[in-house]
Symmetry: C2
Subunit: 450 residues, 2 copies
Amino acid sequence: MKVAAYIDDQFNRFVSELQAWCRQPSVSGANRGIPEMVALVRETLIAAGLAVQVFTVPGGHPVVYAERKGTTDKTLLFYGHYDVQPPEPLEAWASGPFEAEVRDGRLFARGVADDKACLLSRVQAVEALLKTRGELPVSVKFLVEGEEEIGSSHLRPFVESHKELLAADWCIWEYAAKNELGYPTMTLGNKGLCYLQLTAAGPSQDWHSMFAPVIPNPAWRLVWALASLKNERDEILVEGFYHDVAPLSEAELAALARIPTDAEKLKASAGLDHLVQDVEGIELKKRLYAAPTCNICGFTAGHVHSGKKGIVPARATAHVDLRLVVNQQPADILDKVRRHLVAHGFGDIQVEMLEGMMPAKTAVNTPFVDVVVQAARRAYKNEITVLPTSPGAGPREVFSTWTDMPIVGLGVGHAGSGVHGPNENVILEDYREGIQHIAALIEQLGISSA
Amino acid sequence: MKVAAYIDDQFNRFVSELQAWCRQPSVSGANRGIPEMVALVRETLIAAGLAVQVFTVPGGHPVVYAERKGTTDKTLLFYGHYDVQPPEPLEAWASGPFEAEVRDGRLFARGVADDKACLLSRVQAVEALLKTRGELPVSVKFLVEGEEEIGSSHLRPFVESHKELLAADWCIWEYAAKNELGYPTMTLGNKGLCYLQLTAAGPSQDWHSMFAPVIPNPAWRLVWALASLKNERDEILVEGFYHDVAPLSEAELAALARIPTDAEKLKASAGLDHLVQDVEGIELKKRLYAAPTCNICGFTAGHVHSGKKGIVPARATAHVDLRLVVNQQPADILDKVRRHLVAHGFGDIQVEMLEGMMPAKTAVNTPFVDVVVQAARRAYKNEITVLPTSPGAGPREVFSTWTDMPIVGLGVGHAGSGVHGPNENVILEDYREGIQHIAALIEQLGISSA
């Protein structure tokens, strides 16, 4: 039996395995279900034919490592994570976030797209190759961490102390998604991240709002401070913020131009009648794939949901994520935000960086990229699209600082997967194609390495 | 036994009755405990010697009315409410909000200051007079509603359809507090209120913040819209907002000048190192007692308290209360806010008025005010302070539109009572003095009416 036929033959079982993974909560931020998820990942990897080691991480969640030697001396490394985002708000889910219900050809669960289905598709591709060929044409390694959703803070020390173990010629990164037109994508980079918590303090406890004429209100302070960071034309006003942004190369601009995109479909899937600054075409793509951002993820002051309450709240807190592009650095951006606030009279606002991540990217003109493209033609109807940088952040830079191996993000999500939101889902047909793509890629790498 | 001696003699029982009232939750906004509280108020009024009627209010909470004829044809009306604010945030209370714990000479409970202790002090004063004199020198009436904390929306129709029942010569209003220097106060007016909910809509559900470059963020929209309403110098920028503010009279300015106040004590009690615009002295008093406000009571977008979450939130909601002074009108202010937002490019922000209340005040030069001052000298060490207007809102205007009876707010709170906040409390010695003051006032009114 050919590997592609084996995958089709076993696909129902593969979906059942994915459901089992999704029914096991593994919320790293809430320290929920981690040991159970590690055990499940380990069993699955062993059953697929891999040798597994679980590394405990002092003060963190375990790293699962697995490998299988191939018949050539080339090695493909898979990076993924078994942890997921918190499922809240629960009331917004049509079925429970850990029920893994299948409806209309989709599997709904927290973390199914980001990235349990992506990771498992690779394990199942390896299983399919071993069951049908008996051996792998190149060696494969899996590095599976449990802290990607909380900043991967232990990944760098782990990688730096296991360079030999992790050495590889190419790397497939955790996640990618079909775009809103149904084209599969690969990402050659990640944005960086500077995730900040801004806090304003008011009276020592909530005060009756009759005192509002004289008691300083921390919600107002935070509103004014935030309004000083970015204006209504979406221009980030932090002094020097854009200073280190590297210009796009010709090859990147050409790749951006080739990305099929449709502002109308994006609007429809988000239920919106307009996008930021009404962007479309190449401007939309430059923003999404190449521009840094300053985004309010959350703002809490007082108690809006418990009804009317006439108070001056005791404190106000905002979470702001700034996604960075090469060569911006999170520590430098933090410093610039702090200096900006002081310069604008907001020295009372406390700023804390909850997560920092460097941006990183692989050049568009890399032979490995072509191999991924060719393999994709065997799995997908539509040509795969090359995204010079994912709009998302990720710890790719942890690898790019010690090795120049190309790193390509692939995955089985789609534009409506709702990652990090309620009703996160994967289309099962995308999942099948994703397994096929990885199996074809490993075969293709064997041919080009022989 | 003299009435003052009776009050001292019975004071421990009076405190026990107050605890029983406070242990009965009566959160109008959550529709919690209302029938039980109505029954408790009714029993207490009957036991004190009053004739009670409970009026059901279609679509609202019942009104409790009570009366007792006096020996002259003059009538004193007490207005109060049996409902309380929601107790959240529960974790901020040192003892349960409905435990009514006594610590260090204070009783801690949601609603004890605002205004169960105020209301009960009047009932107990009537009881004391009846037990010691056998009769009252003037008639008394009690109007006790259950919707003061949610906007008193049924009070106006009730009053307008029961004008004869409620007719009186003078009225004592629900609440007042000793100021931060320990001086008892009386309030001759209330600010009005225009309590708004502002909502901005974003994507149909929370989206991964990697899309922040193109997906409009409702938290940013709301931040920018709010920042357009008031600047950092605390100037309200809504066009025409100050247009209808009536200038203060000479008598009001003189009364403001006499108010003892201490910015340092206010700061210390709120745990602050500064007040808004560093006001002090007469400027502080003009703001607190005579200036309209625009205050953010709450702001919610995203999920700050469930950890880091990289999202563009689906919606952002703010509660803004504007406290109004004579002659500002809530419907007019709502209209001005809406027109301001549209004019500044924020026509996408939904504005809903959750509560509206007109400002109202009694003139400083009114004979009844002098009687209250004289009676206070028998109950308090310090001279009572006349506040031309309370900093708080209240439905006084419901009465002032059909009768010119003077309305004076009195009460047993203090500057650290924490009304509407956690650990709301009343100092028991203030409570005792409050009962003595009302008993003395009724006796004094009898003398001046005889």
